[in-house]
Amino acid sequence: MTSEINVAGAERWASALGGAALTAYAIKQLKDRSPMGAALAAAGTALIYRGATGHCAMYEAAGINTAADAGTETKRALGGSRGVLVEEAVTINGSPEELYAFWRNFEQLPRFMDHLISVKQLDQRRSHWVARAPAGRTVEWDAEIVNEIPNELIGWRTLDGADVISAGSVRFKPAPRHGTEVRVRMQYEPPAGKAGAAVAWLLGLEPSQTIQEDLRRFKQLMETGEIPTTKGQPRGRQSILNYD
């Protein structure tokens, strides 16, 4: 999707908006999604940046000191307050029961999590995950459920030996008149070297955006039964060089 973005158009419009701080903010957000950003991420530099600067701010923003918080679970799972924590939420027009049931069947997660190739349930608690990595490679890891409240919460962490040490939770909370609030928290320890680059690529320059898009696709799938797309629709000639 990223490569389709017409940054030139957005920038042109941005300049039209003339100096408003609000606009600068909006356009910065647009530009953060540029192919250049993705390239940076692939190079692994983003991870270093995030490791150096992202930690405390994100940690505080997530407010994980609250005792009843799902963040506590991820923190405990990682054995302390380490790594990067991101939190995203979406409201879905559906019951906690049906959303929980779909998510709990991990083997269905690749239907809306773009970077996943497959998830295989090994037993009630453990599962094996395969995800896309740069240059046609894959990364794999095992995970286990560390906390579970039916129709409310699933908490998991990667098992020892995984390249990517991470923990996460998804919480389903009824929102009267609106359905269910689905809140995901992910905490992970940025590894170094090759694996670090892979993780950076996996999660993109902005991991919260990856999770946000995953949650959006989850909502679309749950509410409409499909994920809207324009991939494969007809287009006219895109360059005057091809025009006859």
Binding site: R216, P228, P234, G236, R237, Q238, I240
Partner: protein, 394 residues
């Protein structure tokens, strides 16, 4: 198939492109029998809407015959004759369930772009830039319709294409604008802009019981059509709009004002020239001249209803006047699906025949020329209908 393709500002061409195919289970493919050029297509032609890409197929007012349906679509079948609403909606989210179809959560594949600019995404639209989904439009021989079990409405064979085509956009848009005026007995409604949406708004306001409608424009053909529809007209080139509106309403102002112009308003007042200079110099995006007048002229406690399209940031809006006079604002893209059936009923009953607005009927092959005629308002042009399956005869 053939389709009208956007290449750059003031550069649209008819080209051969691949036929559309079913991409999702609830899709349908429609063979387009009639399609129209909308005033908001001119914003694309003029380069006022960001995130267009060379190669985009335009068009959001169309109808035709269903030629293929996805396996999850149980509402349509091959051979159905349907009008397609310009808004794309899933039918199952919080907003669709409340009939706020143009605010659908799920139909914009580029939702994140809209979120960055507007906070939250609104619905996908046909042929209207990446920002609203990047869906290929209906100024083509065939079109793919997503969530086709929600939007397209079957129409009876007793009505012609021209009688029902405008249920896709301008009739519901003009009608919603009038409905937003909450018209009560004795109300006077003023309408800025007598293009196709303004024309529909004028007639809708009268259908909804307005006592009188004042219509404001500077194009004689449009003013004539407004007068034929029952409006009292004001030519802003020849008289002061505010003074005239005030006199015609006994000094109190219209009960509600409709801005059927939108972001590319032109005018002959000082602020209009400043707007033009600013947008030319990229210091503002939209030119809200008509909106300013509507706010200024509206009576105390009145309603300003805005069907005209805005996309970005507006300069020098008289917010003080709006606040001090306690105005109510109602606006937004049309919730087309809410109005299609009731308005079809009105057409069948003979309350209105929306085809009155058509001045030009041309083959799709002539679309680039049709855009030009429409934009420059040449040859008395008010509304163009294109026929995608008619060959040009030279």
């Amino acid at each position: 198939m053939k389709a009208l393709v956007w290449h750059a500002t003031n550069d649209v061409r008819v080209e051969r492109v691949p036929d559309p195919t079913i991409l999702n289970p609830r899709d349908a493919i429609v063979k387009v029998t009639s399609t129209a050029i909308c005033g908001s297509d001119l914003h694309l032609l003029d380069g006022f809407i960001p995130t267009m890409q060379a190669g985009d197929i335009l068009g959001h007012e169309f109808m035709g015959e269903v030629v293929e349906v996805g396996h999850e679509n149980t509402r349509l079948k091959v051979g159905d004759r349907v009008v397609v609403p310009f808004t794309i909606a899933c039918g199952r989210c919080f907003f669709c369930e409340k009939q706020l179809w143009s605010l659908c959560d799920n139909s914009n594949p580029n939702a994140w772009m809209a979120e960055k600019l507007y906070g939250y995404t609104t619905s996908g639209l046909f042929g209207y830039s990446r920002l609203t989904g990047g869906y290929a439009g209906g100024q083509a021989q065939y079109a793919r319709v997503p969530f086709a079990d929600v939007g397209p409405m079957k129409v009876p064979d007793s009505l012609t294409d021209e009688q029902v085509l405008f249920l896709s956009d301008i009739f519901p848009t003009g009608y919603m604008a009038a409905e937003n005026c909450e018209i009560k007995q004795g109300d006077v409604i003023a309408v800025w802009g007598c293009g196709p949406v303004g024309q529909m708004a004028i007639r809708s306001a009268l259908l909804l019981g307005a006592d009188r409608v004042l219509a404001i424009d500077d194009v004689p053909d449009r003013l004539r059509m407004a007068a034929e529809g029952g409006a009292e007209t004001i030519n802003f080139d020849q008289e002061s709009v505010f003074e005239r509106v005030k006199i015609l309403t006994g000094g109190r102002g219209p009960d509600a004002c409709i801005d059927a112009v939108g972001l590319e308003a032109h005018g002959s007042t000082l602020d209009a020239y400043i707007d033009k200079a600013k947008t030319a110099a990229f210091l503002a995006t939209d030119r809200p001249n008509a909106l300013r007048q509507a706010i200024h002229a509206c009576r105390k406690g009145g309603i300003v209803s805005i069907p005209g399209v805005y996309g970005g940031f507006l300069d020098k809006i008289p917010f003080g006047a709006a606040f001090q006079k306690g105005l109510t604002f109602k606006m937004g893209q049309t919730h087309v699906m809410k109005y299609m059936k009731p308005l079809l009923d009105r057409i069948e009953r003979g309350d209105i025949d929306p085809s009155f607005v058509i001045t030009h009927r041309l083959p799709l092959d002539d679309a680039p020329n049709a855009y030009k005629i429409f934009k420059e308002k040449r040859d008395h042009c008010i509304k163009v209908v294109l026929k995608p399956h008619t060959e040009t005869v030279h």
